[in-house]
């Protein structure tokens, strides 16, 4: 019996297509599971109510809450999902990521959290440096605001009072002095397979989805060691580790659990889909 990889998705982007094609070229059966057309009995733990979805499942939903909750359901039904729920729950939440990284002794930007505009203003004063306000759950740079003075900071905090409660958890991070770029490394299992610089000269946000430009980044021993350690403390899997270069060395500020890699493949020539499929095959055989 050959291996079947199940890919859970809500959109087929370049990345998903590349993974599907790579798996098929290796003679692996691919089962596409469209999250938008699926439903599950969550009070029934057996797999019996489902056709066999695969020997291993790759979670690729672009919607974070759909991604996370669907993974919880599938794990409860006995599937091994990449990345696991525990990993996605930490990586999808900046507060949990900061706690996890700092507890493990991994350098990460100094961060305060408060729960009211008044508390947030006190935290900003205590930090006493330019900072960045980030939603604890969010992507592609949405609602990330540089805070430079108290007056505008308070105005931004107060505005958040009219938003969904998740945005009223004020995550205030030191705006570290860095070149106009950050570093994204790709960790797949126990390997660091590629790295890129993400440049933005006009914006604090370097996200490729926001127009950041990718450039090849050599994986030095220091980068490799830090990337693997950061990936390990959040539980490991297929991860994108985001780092910044500071005067005192690298700091890890984010770890991505449903990573996009089109720009990285184009920039570095590394066949990331091949590494992903290889990793899934190893997990399926376990």
């Amino acid at each position: 019996m050959g291996i079947t990889i199940g890919i859970v998705y809500d959109q087929i982007r370049w990345e998903e297509k590349a993974i599907i094609e790579t798996a098929k070229a290796r003679g692996i059966k691919v089962n596409l599971i469209n999250a938008k057309q699926s439903f599950f009995n969550i009070t029934h733990r057996d797999k019996d109510d489902l056709e066999n979805l695969g020997d291993v499942l790759l979670q690729r939903c672009v919607s974070y809450f759909r991604n996370l909750h669907l993974t919880a359901i599938l794990e409860n039904k006995g599937y091994y999902v990449v990345n696991p729920y525990k990993v996605s729950s930490i990586c999808g939440n900046k507060l949990l990521t900061s706690i996890t990284l700092s507890r493990a002794g991994i350098p990460t930007p100094e961060t305060y959290v408060a729960f009211t505009p008044e508390g947030a203003l006190s935290a900003f004063k205590k930090l006493n440096r330019p900072a960045i306000l980030k939603p604890i759950v969010g992507s592609w740079g949405r609602l990330i605001v540089p805070l430079k003075d108290e007056e505008t900071a308070l105005a931004v905090f107060e505005e958040r009072e009219y938003m969904f409660p998740l945005y009223q958890i004020y995550y205030i991070q030191d705006m570290v002095k860095r070149p106009p770029r950050d570093i994204r490394t790709f960790v797949i299992g126990d390997e660091v397979v590629a790295g890129i610089y993400r440049y933005s000269f006009t914006d604090v946000k370097t996200n490729i989805a926001r127009g950041g430009k990718a450039e090849y980044c050599q994986i030095t021993d220091e980068l490799r060691e830090l990337s693997l350690k950061a990936a390990e403390v959040v539980g490991g899997g297929i991860l994108g580790v985001d780092m910044m270069e500071t005067e005192n060395g690298f700091v890890v500020h984010e770890i991505n659990h449903t990573v996009e890699f089109k720009a990285t493949v184009e920039t570095t020539g590394v066949n990331i889909p091949k590494y992903i499929v290889g990793y899934l095959i190893r997990k399926a055989k376990k």
Binding site: I12, K36, V62
Partner: protein, 57 residues
Amino acid sequence: MKVSCPECGAEFESPQDVVIGEILTCPECGLELEVTSIGEGSVEVKPSQVSGEDWGE
């Protein structure tokens, strides 16, 4: 397989291995279209959601 753009009416061919959920770009107007169903020789699409509040990596 044939695709008809719901925005500008252009007709174009999808890739042979098209799957539901795939994003196609209309060659005429540039609109991104999400494949909703695949029939005999034709593909149904709708304008794709640009970005949800919890989307992204």
